[in-house]
Symmetry: C2
Subunit: 409 residues, 2 copies
Amino acid sequence: MTIVSPLAPERLPELKPILGVRLATVACGIRYAGREDLMLAELAPGSAIAGVFTKSQTAGPPVLWCRDCLPGGKVRGVIVNSGNANVFTGRAGRDVVEQTAATAARLFGCDPKEIFISSTGVIGEPPPGQKIVEALPRMVPMLSPDAWEPAARAIMTTDTFAKVATATATIGGVGVRLNGFAKGSGMIAPDMATMLGYIFTDAALPAAVLQPLLAQAADRSFNCLTVDGDTSTSDTVLLCATQQSAHPVMADPADGRLEGFRQALYAVMIDLAQQIARDGEGAQKFVTIEVTGAETAQAARRIALTIGNSPLVKTALSAGDPNWGRIVMAVGRAGEKIDPDRLSISIGGIRITAEGGPVPGYDEGPVAEYMKGRNITIAVGVGTGRGSATVWTCDLTHSYIDINASYRS
Amino acid sequence: MTIVSPLAPERLPELKPILGVRLATVACGIRYAGREDLMLAELAPGSAIAGVFTKSQTAGPPVLWCRDCLPGGKVRGVIVNSGNANVFTGRAGRDVVEQTAATAARLFGCDPKEIFISSTGVIGEPPPGQKIVEALPRMVPMLSPDAWEPAARAIMTTDTFAKVATATATIGGVGVRLNGFAKGSGMIAPDMATMLGYIFTDAALPAAVLQPLLAQAADRSFNCLTVDGDTSTSDTVLLCATQQSAHPVMADPADGRLEGFRQALYAVMIDLAQQIARDGEGAQKFVTIEVTGAETAQAARRIALTIGNSPLVKTALSAGDPNWGRIVMAVGRAGEKIDPDRLSISIGGIRITAEGGPVPGYDEGPVAEYMKGRNITIAVGVGTGRGSATVWTCDLTHSYIDINASYRS
């Protein structure tokens, strides 16, 4: 009965298999009736992993487990359930993670620390350990190299569409492929807009190379995304590399031959991040905020996120109201140095302010017309340096309230 | 046609005159038809002033002017208009402030730097300098010691009720009185929820004593207030002391004999701050968030504000949904150190969490019943220290969207 976001991509891209990756999904009845809610990914022996996680102080047992396992740099399995976040579940929550990892490790003949686990859904409810542990053996014979879309669907909570992305690159002249899927930000039973993302590649790169590449890419993609400013307890992005490609070995993340791979990783992760904004709760408009001229890139991102998180800016966007005074307000409160007399604001490429006031003869008509569209770009120059950043978000509509103010039960 | 907030106080307190303060209001047609939009306060010669202002980087000319005048410590007039914020108005905005101050200074026979000015309303529109300058001479014969409620009404934008507060204290055995009024957070033509507050007293205290007292009180009152997290370009609180009381002279803000005055100042400012939360855009519930056990008072306030600004918490409040997982989320993302295993959450005095999970046998029923009420208290202990803070806010409802997503024109 979910209405698909009007901002959803028109079609899913085709995701070709990645050598060394197989996927399976089942419905194990955690919360949602009649849909798959558990995803298992099997990685070939020797696969390497990198990960980035929520900075929340109340991160749940799955995130704590993944952080513990990450220094090993090895992965054989990734398990994700939807419907229950396994956060703030006390000792029981930690037990479930350990039992899940032990079960999968037996099935794959590996160390439990090579099993990575994520959970998304309601906080503080008893974790469905038994259901997961019983489902895993059934899933092994179902593992398939083609189940990308089912995998993307199984990890959804109240997302209105599955989010997948793919890219290819060459490393030292040899082709590699990247497939990714993610979930985030739609909710029917309002709980937590956890952002989860999984990227798989056949590249033969060690964890020590993958980790800095993933961290950089997360900084330019998922970390530039906001729907409502509420950081989840469970945000997780994993990058798994199956080592199946025959490209030259390289151990230095700064190796110039990795540039194509780096760009492909950016492309996949930015695509997924934008899809999450496009599926923001109640979203009717996809909004890109470009800030330039800040003291640093970090300052630029902070200003862009302050604009993107401002409820006053977001409600104006939903109304198609070119209320640029609210952008001035948000820039002013971001806590970064700006030069008000050099502050330039453009919407849809139309310049609105200059020299500390509206441009002479400013005509709101064309901006109002532009703002009727589904895709809105706001460009802001703050006149103090060369730092720049781009952030993606959506508008704030009545549906956001409907989705989140309905009683859970 | 404005519907008064259901959280408004049942009646306005009576504000008695303060020796040395006279007030006048007029309708000068800045924006609102048929209501007063300009307030003039005259202070007796020798009156002292303290002020705190927005930290916004895009503060407007009135705030910049007040900051410039503040080191003088003297005040003869306070002028506030509603309907136009005089922010991002370029050279014209600065001219209007200077002309306004010069005109009032001529009328009162004082230095222009003894005239303090605030403006609230739309950003980036031509400031109504001529209207204000022409109105001021007409207002002088109207000045009255009793016009507190009209003054509070004249500075409203889309507030749904006038906000006044009063208290008395003794300094060295001699009685003094404090009257205050404030505006904030209601909007019909959605622009900027500027917070303005003005407190007047007959105390005989110099600016050097008033300023630290005001800064401390602002930290415990207006700085503990959030409606939507969007800091205005124009926030201003002024404390004017007419020196008419015959209490002993004191020059040290730490003088023990000031304790009663300090408490009365807190009482007036906390009362006004709570009234602003009670008039938050679309507010249906008044929410008090008490955080204890943080590393510092500042950390506690940051955690409390993160809870109070969370759209997920605020929508749950509007639904009366005891969705405490969202409080866990907000505490986790506040960026302050907490101990998840010692995190205690209570709503309406009912303990919900202990030892990293829900309390054994937790029954949601009584909490859901409590949350149907108009006044909600959330208490959170974070288990890392002795810092505490209290923050006031309101819920996030459809009316917030209606108020802010309607097109301005």
